[in-house]
Symmetry: C2
Amino acid sequence: MRSGDVRALARAISSVENRSPGSSDLLKALFPHTGKARVIGLTGAPGAGKSTLVDQLARFYRKHRRSVGIIAVDPTSPYTGGAILGDRIRMQEHFSDPGIYIRSMATRGSLGGLARTTADVSTVLDASGRDLVMIETVGVGQDEIDIVRLAQVTVVILVPGMGDDVQTIKAGIMEIADIFVINKSDRDGAEHVEREIRTLQSLATRLDGWTPPIIKTVATSGQGITELAAAIADYESYLHSENLVFNKSVENWQERLLEMLRDAMLDKARARFSDGHLKRMAAEVAEHKRDPYSLVEEIANAGKQ
Amino acid sequence: MRSGDVRALARAISSVENRSPGSSDLLKALFPHTGKARVIGLTGAPGAGKSTLVDQLARFYRKHRRSVGIIAVDPTSPYTGGAILGDRIRMQEHFSDPGIYIRSMATRGSLGGLARTTADVSTVLDASGRDLVMIETVGVGQDEIDIVRLAQVTVVILVPGMGDDVQTIKAGIMEIADIFVINKSDRDGAEHVEREIRTLQSLATRLDGWTPPIIKTVATSGQGITELAAAIADYESYLHSENLVFNKSVENWQERLLEMLRDAMLDKARARFSDGHLKRMAAEVAEHKRDPYSLVEEIANAGKQ
């Protein structure tokens, strides 16, 4: 995989995604080879044109001979198989270029597994020698915040005319944006969105002293992509010049270690009872024979034995 | 609190929200008094008009002399204090009516705490004797799915003209919708949204045999609210007639018990090291001196001692 074999890469990612036996050893072996890729997170509401923007950025980096890995985190369902379909359509276009590897991931599963899986897939892409890893997520929830926490640079994509709650959306993501993009900026209302961002920015300064720039793009025509790439490079230079890279990485790892530990502890806890046992307990709670709070306390403490 | 004292209710909710000492005992004591409230979850993208719809539903139920508790899960930030502001504005209007209690909750904190807190607040409202608990969430992510899992009835709110990714949004929430609402249905495109839902519905049938109805509303004028309340009652009757209530509750509790166990395990894990210790380990990982996968394994196993 580290010699650039795309099939080996795909197999490694699948192994990590499915948490196959051996995937943990694989990650341990790959970790020392990570830390070289620049990880860029891109998030925004549905309809913001994220995929097109990511494609254009990938094209830009390919022109500059950088290899790219894309993780597209898509909501999907058994109804539509959204992620898989999207994967195919986008893969087709880039198929002839081994310098772009795209992986779509579904929001299937639960219990916060998606952030962890995205992190692990990013580790694999990083270790495989990709120069850039782009993580694209839909939505504005805690998931996205967990996912973009992996990234060195976080790009938040807005569009004009998102309706009455645009204030709310922006409020939730102001803290995580290192760069704002107003996509579809040829539409009415782009200036309005820009003014709102500036207003929110004027209310508080970031601890690291950076003021997130606002880049206007029209992803479908490629307009503004060069400026966006420059803004990404600017922010990275800023982090380096202020010696913030290491601090940011330590902060991220504190959160991630806690998340990983939580998952590991859950796996251990889950292993303590068969599905039948869990179902029986759930039935007792549903019948109000037992209160769930005491029950969980008992099981958690039983782990000490 | 159980005698209807609103101040006692507010204090109990704050205690649970802040996980104050004693809140766990409080929940244990309240649990036997729960199970009477009907819990309705309402979710949809930002701008879908959820708050207005929830207010109108609350008004409807109040007219029928049912007491209502509303949990509004809002994204917010230190920039705007969104949730608090929203709370005030909405509280003002209903202030004179102790039959409606509204609590806004921020998406602050992390590690999946929001779903758990919402569940606990819902437990308190249920135990306080509210006939209905409405949980309103923004967004389409895993958070929302975790949150609406609490509800007996889940209403998914769509609006016409959500842009190119409307397919994606609907795909992610098709499984959780017991009822679809097309709000702002006086706008162009309402029929288009309805057709798309029908198409997706035709591709698969639900395991429980229910076909989610599509209700058109204009929340600002109250249009369609009676129909929505009727659809909610219909679904509840269906669940009862098919003896599905208990099964659904057992399924929900299986997931919730696992989530609660995960959180309990994390608390235990976190207690194992001081913040300084965690930071030191994060620094070692950031420097690539240690791989995080082996590290987490070691700590998780150390819990056995």
